[in-house]
Symmetry: C2
């Protein structure tokens, strides 16, 4: 049986590679969609069982659009994948490094290769909407003076040559993905879990500190806190928390019960097995 998985971008996008690695021992079909919100639509409408949602990059930080979309859509985070991002310089088959005059890629990728780009004195860099898209653009142009910064999979997908490998300034470059599904699974396999929740606090003194206390008092490790604005209530925030544990652990159940004494709105976004951080 084939599993349908939605990702944002085009062939060779990091999201597609991440999906293939996450579901490595399953048969999957990847469905490319143009915008992040389309991933959620595909999953909510049942066109795809799963969606690959990039939530955070270890250099650029959180991807806030996806934090906002996670609460706009009724989905469940059922998995986590930590994807090691590598940047290569890609050109046409007849091109070589000394031919390159213009380099295109996503602004973040250009920023992450700033050292290498400075070393190419004669080449200009221009932003492009995504890394895999910039590879396709180079292929479509057939221009041997044009290069893209993208993955080796994008090189393969679009028939480009790798002119220079591993051009990033910092190799500790990981993107954390959430794997989303329409519903909570009926059974959770054994393993080490993380849980992600979102809440808005009541207007009580020291509310933020108290909300973290419900975890600290039970020795639950907090991994991340993220805040997003609440529309119509300037300088009030929705808080997103990740912690180690499964929602059905006793300590976790008690902490979440306690937390709801302090919150105006509260939702569990998912409990999922912790993703491994491996270099490729």
């Amino acid at each position: 049986m084939t599993i349908d998985v939605a990702f944002q971008g085009i062939l060779g996008a990091n999201s597609e590679i991440a999906a293939k690695l996450y579901f490595a021992n399953k048969r999957i079909k990847c469905h490319a969609v143009p915008k992040f919100e389309n991933i959620y639509q595909k999953v909510v409408r049942g066109h795809c069982e799963y969606g690959m949602v990039p939530i955070e990059n270890s250099l650029a930080g959180s991807i806030h659009e996806n934090y906002d979309l996670l609460i706009k859509n009724k989905v469940w985070i059922c998995g986590e994948h930590i994807h090691h991002v590598e940047h290569h310089l890609l050109g046409t088959k007849t091109s070589s490094l000394k031919d390159i005059k213009t380099i295109v890629s996503h602004p973040q990728a250009l920023l992450q290769c700033a050292g290498f780009l400075r070393s190419l004195k004669r080449a200009e860099s221009h932003p492009y909407f995504d890394t895999a898209g910039s590879a396709k653009h180079v292929k479509d142009s057939g221009d041997k003076t044009l290069a893209a910064i993208a993955s080796k999979e994008a090189a393969a997908a679009h028939g480009l040559k790798i002119l220079k490998r591993g051009i990033e300034d910092n190799v500790e470059n990981y993107t954390r993905f959430f794997v989303i599904a329409k519903n909570q699974p009926k059974r959770f396999p054994k393993g080490k879990y993380k849980t992600s929740i979102v809440f808005a606090l009541k207007n009580i003194p020291g509310a933020l500190h108290k909300s973290l206390s419900v975890f600290a008092l039970r020795d639950i490790d907090l991994l991340k806190i993220e805040s997003r604005p609440i529309h119509g209530s300037p300088w009030k925030y929705l808080f997103y928390l990740d912690y180690i544990g499964h929602i059905h652990d006793e300590a976790s159940e008690r902490a979440l019960g306690h937390l709801q004494e302090l919150t105006q709105t509260f939702r569990v976004l998912g409990s999922y097995q912790i993703g491994k951080q491996l270099k490729r």
Copy 2:
């Protein structure tokens, strides 16, 4: 004596209007710079006494580039200004609403006027690098079918007509600015203050909760917490905190001393009088 103030953008930008309102009873000269980082350079090098730095919008959230730049540059936050953002549809002098076929503006402004844009069935919208820049673009084109979404000051600065006032979906649209200077002032005038700090925590259990406890234990009100990635240390964060109080208040001094028992790095970004939130 004239005070030199740096802002990012072009004539009629919200940052320029904010500077004029913040320094309403002073004689100022505004210096437009193309990028946020240039504001800090102007201030650090002593070319401008002050810089206007947008740090957060009540609908779009934090402006992370400026959080990152605040720690890359040795500056002091000496003021806060809360700016009410209004969006108007601007066209050439001979244009009217029914002529408009294309609307340009910053993607956030387009998003914030989505309801109005949907009501204009025949008009397409296109992203532009900033709101005031989109106004200049309409003026330069002389095209009566083209309109921009920008402020009334941008209309005045670029000789455009307001075709439709107040086209935003949500009027609770404020941008919070930091006023930055090179150094801490010698004297702080009397008033109600906020303090902004940034720190990285030691690797100890429950460190985040403990770091908030140092404030809660002293009844100090936390206003905001923001996290940003630390490069080279995936999933470790710098935390930015805003709280009510002046760094030299006794409770605040004790809390910050206590906090430094828990932190690897720590810096006070500034103590500044609380900005008033007024509709224009």
